[in-house]
Each structure stands twice: as structure tokens, then as C-alpha cells.
């Protein structure tokens, strides 16, 4: 179905190829997962196959690209789309009409499908992705997962033989990601399409895949059957990929078997006790207290937060977790003062209150200067520091975010992970006592998240971050606050909160494989490293 031979791609005047001598073959009914670190050429690969690169860009493409026995180079794009469906990362920029029904119809109308046939295809596609019930509902009222399922329906309705998905779950919360994976599973069961999924969330997608392809710097570094892919994890670990928990655990333990699902893994003997949690949180002095905090976005709107009481203490590294719309970002913005709380409901204990650095959900919107150094200089300059002092601070902040070698580059020329770190550096240069991060993990690979969080490890009184990612919370938080039903439903050390099944369900958080396995073992280990420690 997909046949790539010695494909090399160069953008514009760049000498270094983005793809280099790539060979890839995908058979009908096969789901191939392509993974690799940010910037390795995964999206370029997708755009090679769907013809966008050859027909809509000035990239120089060498080699043979054939899809369903058609040469992509000589087949016009409007013909290619009849047998290649594409789904991209952000559902909001792929939906262009008002309702699911008209959205699915859009592609069919472009293909001049007769009206009666169009109706049948729309019904089938919407039923496949489970959106038949909401076919007339305005698109903007759908959840992220529903929107991405709708995008898949749009592609499927065109009856493609090949379906390409470029990081389809990277922007979604766990619930939305589960919806997409269930849809993919159903699609694979009912159709005989060749499916290529580009994704760095291996844990979720690998279990559906027939093959796993790993790329690095534009080259294919490995192409394995799914069962073989995780036998040797060293190459994947070297690339900084987020490894699936169970194969990672069994590899660390030096065992031969590589179970994927925690339910299928053999129960091992717990040989060492868990290390006790460190520090007594309650004895530390509070930095800020929330008293009966209530907030609604309009006088006649339902409150997003209602009756929230919380003490955040010096040294706290708090993960705010909860489903979409649970009020995580609102709480963060109220702490930052970007939203106005009722007097007395947010009380800072120090006078004057500590300096607060807020990173908004889209870090790109925090980058408005010409170079990375200027970004980091912006805040200290506006604090009235001399150029020399400002530059010292800016360089220190960039050093913490491992960006010193990029000081003269425009921020927009950096990779996504580097842009995230540049945004954090631009607030660290303020020397804030409190840093608030709104969904810093969305769309980022594990390596980038770790580098950013490592840079934030010291020098702060308080760190609060919103996340859906249990792994990040387990690794970097010493306190987890779960939000649901307009308020806090759990607050405590990660080990306590993230093992409360009822609270996790209420906060729409999916436990990781490591957690599920730990529960089977009767221990409260959150991370693979902790499990490996007690089982070794």
C-alpha cells in the first residue's frame, strides 16, 4: 500500500536533509507506529506520503514514493486524497464547517460524490467513530477527543486505502486519547486499510501496532514487528523516547519476557520495602492560602471553582490534575492574579507577595522578542535592572533551561521543546519565587519535559503545574491536587492521591501501566524506577 524507497527530503536552501534515504513499506491491514524524538522527520514522512510535500511545498524530494500503486510525484493532490486520508495533530485547524455532518460532507463534496451516496457514507463514518448522535451539534461544543474522532471520520468517509495520522493524541487529555485509540482499534477490525501513525506516546499506541518504526535525524533507525520492538530498549532509551512501562520494567529487571499490558504481566515478588516519602509537608510555612475561593467567568455562568480551600507551602511542587474544564487553568490564573478573585479569597502570606512567573498553555504566545536572549532579557529589563545585571540573569535562566547555545537565534526557529524551555527561561529571568505552569507537557516528548522540569528543580519557593500526565506528576510533584466538580476532591502526596481509584475516576485520570501493576502487587509505586527498585 505504501512503498517508500530511498526517500530524501531537503527544505529550502538547507543542505542537511530532513529525511535521508528512508525505506518504508506498509501492507494492507497493517498498523505501523512511527516514533522518534522531536524534529526527527516524522511529520515530513507523513507529508511525503500524502503528497503535500511534493505538490504544495518547495521541498526537494528524491526517491520513489508510491501509494496504492500510484506514483505520488505524478498523481495530483485532489486525486491522491481519494485513497490517502490524513489526520493531523490539532483538530481545531482541521475542522472548517459547522456540524459533524457538514464536516464529513466537506471532503465528499470536494470529490463530487453524488448526494444519495454522500448521505450513506456520512452515516457510516459517523457511526464508526461514535458521533452519529451529535451529527447536528455545533462543532465547537465537541470535546477534544470528539473533534479528533470527527477528523478521523472525515478521512474514513473518503474510503481511503491508506490512513495517515500525525500525532493524533498529542494534544488530547487521557480521556480523549482513549477515544481515539478505541476508534483506531475499531477501524482496524472493520477495514483493511494500511494505517501509519506518527506518535511519541508509545505506551498508548504501541499496543495497537503491528510494527514499530523508530526514526532519528531523518533516518529509520529501527523497523521491528511490535512484539520484537521492546526486546532491547537501549536504542529507544538513547533517543529519549517515553518507553512503555511494562517492557521498561521487565527490561530493567533483566527479565526476558516483555509483557505489554499490566494485567498480563506475571506477578513478581516484592523483595525490598518502598522508600518512605520524604519531608513533612504540613510543618512547612504556607506561601499562599485560598479561602472559600469561588470563580465564574460571567455573572450568570456556573462557577468553575466553588468553595476551594487550599494552603500551598514553601517547597511544594504541586501537580494540579483533573479532566478538561475542571478549573485547573482557572485556579492557576487566579493564583497569578491574571484573573481577579474576590477580596480575601487568595491570601499571600509574605509582604510584599512573591514574584510570580506564569507560563500560559501555549508557550509560543510568550515569545515575542527577536532572539532567545532578548526573550530572557525582557522581564529583568522591565524590572528596572541595568543591562549588565539583566544579561547576567537572562544567561543564568537560559543556562537552567539548557539554551545557552541558542541565545542569538530567533525563538521561532527553535524546536517545540526548545520553545517551551525558552518560555520558561523568560519567566525564570524574573527570579520568581513562585512559578505556575499551565499544561507544560502537552505535545512535548519525555526528554523535553524532563529537561524543563530539571531546570525548575531548585531555587523556587513554590511550583504549581497543571497536567494530565501521571508520569510527570509522579516524577516531579511532591503534592497532587485533584480537581473535579468545581472543587478539590483529593490533596496529598502523589503516592496517596494517585492510588485512590475513586478519585482518579472522578477526576477523569487514567492510571499508568506501572500504577496498575503496582496495585496488583499491593504496593504504591508510581514510577517504573520505583517498581524496579523494590522488585530487583
Amino acid at each position: 500500500m505504501i512503498d517508500l524507497r530511498q526517500v530524501t527530503v531537503r527544505y529550502g536552501t538547507r543542505v542537511e536533509p530532513t529525511l535521508s534515504a528512508v525505506d518504508l513499506h506498509v501492507a494492507p491491514g497493517e498498523l505501523v507506529l512511527v516514533s522518534g524524538p522531536t524534529g526527527c522527520g516524522k511529520s515530513t514522512l507523513i507529508n511525503c506520503i500524502n503528497g503535500v510535500l511534493l505538490h504544495e511545498s518547495d521541498a526537494r524530494v528524491e526517491g520513489v514514493i508510491r501509494v496504492v500503486d500510484h506514483d505520488v510525484r505524478t498523481t495530483p493532490l485532489d486525486r491522491l486524497c481519494r485513497f490517502v486520508g490524513s489526520v493531523f495533530q490539532n483538530p481545531d485547524t482541521q475542522l472548517c464547517t459547522a456540524t459533524p455532518e457538514t464536516e464529513v460532507a466537506f471532503g465528499l463534496e470536494n470529490m463530487a460524490v453524488p448526494r444519495p451516496e454522500m448521505g450513506v457514507r456520512i452515516d457510516e463514518a459517523l457511526a464508526l467513530v461514535g458521533l452519529a448522535e451529535v451529527r447536528h451539534q455545533p462543532v465547537e461544543t465537541l470535546s477534544g477527543g470528539q473533534k479528533q474522532r470527527l477528523v478521523i471520520a472525515c478521512a474514513v468517509a473518503m474510503n481511503p486505502s491508506v490512513l495517515l495520522l500525525d500525532e493524533p493524541i498529542s494534544q488530547l487529555d487521557p480521556e480523549g486519547a482513549d477515544e481515539i485509540l478505541a476508534t483506531l482499534a475499531r477501524l482496524m477490525a472493520e477495514y483493511d486499510q494500511a494505517v501509519l501513525v506518527v506518535e511519541h506516546r508509545l505506551e498508548e499506541v504501541a499496543r495497537l501496532a503491528d510494527r514499530v518504526v523508530v526514526m532519528e535525524a531523518g533516518r529509520v533507525r529501527g523497523d521491528w514487528a511490535a512484539k520484537q520492538a521492546f526486546l532491547d530498549l537501549a536504542p529507544l532509551r538513547k533517543l529519549g523516547l517515553s518507553l512503555p512501562h511494562m517492557p521498561d520494567l521487565f527490561c530493567r529487571l533483566g527479565r526476558r519476557e516483555r509483557p505489554f499490558a499490566p494485567e498480563e504481566a506475571p506477578l513478581l515478588e516484592v523483595r525490598h520495602p518502598m522508600a518512605p516519602p520524604s519531608g513533612d509537608a504540613a510543618s512547612r510555612e504556607p506561601v499562599v492560602s485560598l479561602h472559600d475561593l469561588r470563580f465564574a467567568y460571567g455573572r450568570h455562568m456556573d462557577p468553575v471553582l466553588d468553595g476551594v480551600n487550599l494552603d500551598l507551602r514553601r517547597g511544594d511542587r504541586v501537580a494540579l490534575m483533573g479532566g478538561n474544564g475542571s478549573g485547573k487553568s482557572t485556579l492557576l490564573n487566579l493564583l497569578a492574579g491574571a484573573l481577579r478573585a474576590a477580596p480575601g479569597t487568595v491570601a499571600w502570606h509574605a509582604a510584599p507577595p512573591p514574584r510570580i512567573g506564569l507560563m500560559v498553555q501555549q508557550p509560543d504566545l510568550m515569545l515575542f522578542q527577536l532572539t532567545v536572549l532578548d526573550e530572557a532579557l525582557f522581564a529583568p529589563r522591565h524590572q528596572g535592572l541595568t543591562q549588565e545585571d539583566a544579561e547576567r540573569r537572562a544567561r543564568a535562566a537560559l543556562d537552567r533551561m539548557s539554551l545557552l547555545q541558542h541565545t542569538g537565534e530567533p525563538a521561532f526557529a527553535l524546536s517545540r521543546g526548545q520553545r517551551l524551555r525558552a518560555a520558561v527561561a523568560s519567566i525564570l529571568s524574573m527570579r520568581p519565587g513562585v512559578v505556575l505552569l499551565d499544561e507544560p507537557t502537552t505535545g512535548q516528548d519525555r526528554d523535553q519535559i524532563e529537561r524543563m522540569m530539571d531546570g525548575l528543580a531548585a531555587g523556587l519557593d513554590l511550583l504549581v503545574f497543571c497536567t494530565h500526565d501521571v508520569d510527570t506528576a509522579a516524577r516531579h510533584a511532591n503534592r497532587v491536587v485533584l480537581l473535579a466538580d468545581h472543587g478539590i476532591i483529593a490533596d496529598g502526596p502523589p503516592r496517596e492521591v494517585l492510588f485512590d481509584a475513586a478519585c482518579l475516576r472522578a477526576a477523569r485520570i487514567r492510571p499508568t501501566s506501572a500504577q496498575v501493576y503496582a496495585r496488583r502487587l499491593g504496593v504504591k509505586a508510581l514510577q517504573v524506577a520505583e517498581l524496579a527498585e523494590i522488585l530487583r
Binding site: G51, V52, A112, L365
Partner: protein, 284 residues
């Protein structure tokens, strides 16, 4: 967009566009205060039929008050025709300028006429904006035989306005959180920072339009290619009736004005039309 399916929101997009178009012709043709007042009232009725929210009402009131006050004040102040009557003396003669500075009654009246013109179209425009979803607008354009690609681009641009506005607000918030206060570091720095604040919004808009473009070309979108449509957009008999009424009104007023203009220009006169001349002079 207001409550979907209520009031003006239920009306066909083409009909709303025709309403806006006919209102704009009427305000150009109208000269008399009663006629302009009637048009402003008609605009108000259409506006209320759109069932604006409290925020929209506030926005409309402020913009119209500013518009009317600005036009009446400036016309009253700078009215240069004669005769003119001083309504409010601001500066006595020879204080700064020989004739003094006054607000003239005729200027205020002229400003009132002009602002009524603007109020009528502004209210109608707001009503259409508040009650028309982008897709309704899109279908309306297609049904009016506007090329698909043009209609699609226009509606896509409208769809992204709230997103761009939201992003701009986020950039401002990020700047404020980083300690930026306009003018604190001088005008030059402020200007540079204000311009820089557009950078992430613009690059976001470019990135988004690229993503939209890639998404739609991979779904078969191509300029000028024949395509089918899911539904045929048909106007109801009532809508046809309203359209005919709007067209008849525009034609009738245009005819009256043309005949009256021919008469006062001494190009064509007939005594049979004396009633029409009188009506046009008094009411139109």
C-alpha cells in the same frame, strides 16, 4: 453568535444579507429626518429581533452613543453653511479666532441626520453579525453564486477572529506578568514592545492558516473544481415574499428619488407626478 435557532438566527443567511444590502441603499437615498428616523427604528427592530445579550447591548449602546455624539458635535462645531444659528458659544469672537468658536444648531441637526444614517446601518449590521453563524453566512454566499473558494476563505477568516483575539489577550497577559507596563521605559521601548506583541499572534495565524490549508487540500479542496453539495439550499415561499418586499421598497424609493431629481434638475416634469414630488420632498 446568539442563542442558536432564536429570532433572527433562524432567518436564512441570504435573506439577512439582502436585508443588510437594502438597508445600506435606503440610507444612501434617504435625506429627510422622518425617513431616516424610520430607518433607524427599522434597524432597531431588526436588532432587537436578533435578541442581543446584555454584553452585546452594552457594546452597541456605547458604540452608537459615541458615534452619534461624535458626528453631531463635530458637525455642530465645524458647520460652514449659512444661515446658521449659534446654539452654544464656546469662545467669544476674537479670543483665538475672529468668528469665535460656537456650536451651530443647523450643524447639530445635520449631524443628527448623518448619525441616524449610520445608526440604521450599524444596528442592522450588528443584528446580522450577532445572529449569523459562519456556516449560515457561508451557505448564504454559496447560494448567492459566490465562488466556493471565495466563500470558504471569507468564512474561515471570520471563524478565526475569536481565536486570534484570544491569543492577543494571552500575549498581553504574558507581557504584563513579565513586568511590562506601557510607557514605563519610554515611548520608544513601548512602541517597540507593542509592535513585538503582534509577532506571536501573526506567526500563530500563519501557522494556523498553513495547517488549515494542508488539512483542506488533503480533503480534496481545489479551486474551480466541480463539486456537489450535501443539501440544496432553497428559500421558503415566505422568504421569497420578504425578499420581493425588500426589493420592491428599494426600487420604489429609488424611482421616487430619480424622478424627483429629474424634476428639480429641470430635465423631466409631469403634473401627473405632482403628488409623488410632494411625497418625496416631504418624506424621503
Amino acid at each position: 453568535m446568539n442563542r442558536h435557532g432564536d429570532g433572527l438566527a433562524r432567518v436564512d443567511g441570504r435573506l439577512k444579507m439582502a436585508l443588510g444590502f437594502s438597508m445600506s441603499i435606503h440610507v444612501v437615498l434617504a435625506d429627510s429626518l422622518p425617513y431616516l428616523g424610520l430607518l433607524a427604528l427599522a434597524g432597531l427592530a431588526v436588532y432587537l429581533f436578533a435578541r442581543p445579550s446584555a454584553f452585546q447591548l452594552k457594546l452597541t449602546f456605547i458604540s452608537i452613543a459615541l458615534l452619534a455624539w461624535g458626528v453631531m458635535f463635530s458637525q455642530g462645531l465645524f458647520y460652514g453653511e449659512y444661515p446658521r444659528t449659534v446654539l452654544v458659544p464656546l469662545l467669544p469672537p476674537n479670543a483665538i479666532m475672529p468668528g469665535g468658536l460656537n456650536i451651530y444648531r443647523e450643524g447639530v441637526y445635520y449631524g443628527l441626520v448623518q448619525s441616524l444614517r449610520m445608526i440604521a446601518v450599524t444596528l442592522t449590521g450588528y443584528a446580522i453579525c450577532f445572529s449569523t453563524r459562519p456556516d449560515q453566512f457561508y451557505r448564504g454566499l454559496l447560494a448567492m453564486r459566490v465562488p466556493f473558494s471565495v466563500a470558504f476563505m471569507a468564512v474561515s477568516a471570520i471563524r478565526f477572529i475569536p481565536i486570534v483575539a484570544g491569543e492577543f489577550a494571552t500575549v498581553r497577559r504574558a507581557m504584563t506578568m513579565k513586568g511590562y507596563r506601557p510607557f514605563r521605559r519610554g515611548i520608544r521601548d513601548t512602541l517597540a514592545t507593542e509592535v513585538a506583541s503582534l509577532r506571536p499572534v501573526l506567526s500563530g495565524a500563519i501557522r494556523r492558516s498553513e495547517e488549515v490549508a494542508i488539512s483542506i487540500v488533503t480533503r480534496g479542496f481545489a479551486f474551480g473544481r466541480p463539486r456537489t453539495t450535501l443539501r440544496e439550499e432553497r428559500l421558503s415561499p415566505a422568504a421569497w415574499g420578504v425578499l420581493a418586499g425588500l426589493a420592491a421598497c428599494v426600487l420604489a424609493v429609488t424611482l421616487c428619488k430619480v424622478l424627483f431629481w429629474l424634476y428639480i434638475s429641470e430635465i423631466y416634469y409631469t403634473s401627473v407626478l405632482r403628488g409623488l414630488y410632494q411625497f418625496t420632498r416631504t418624506w424621503l
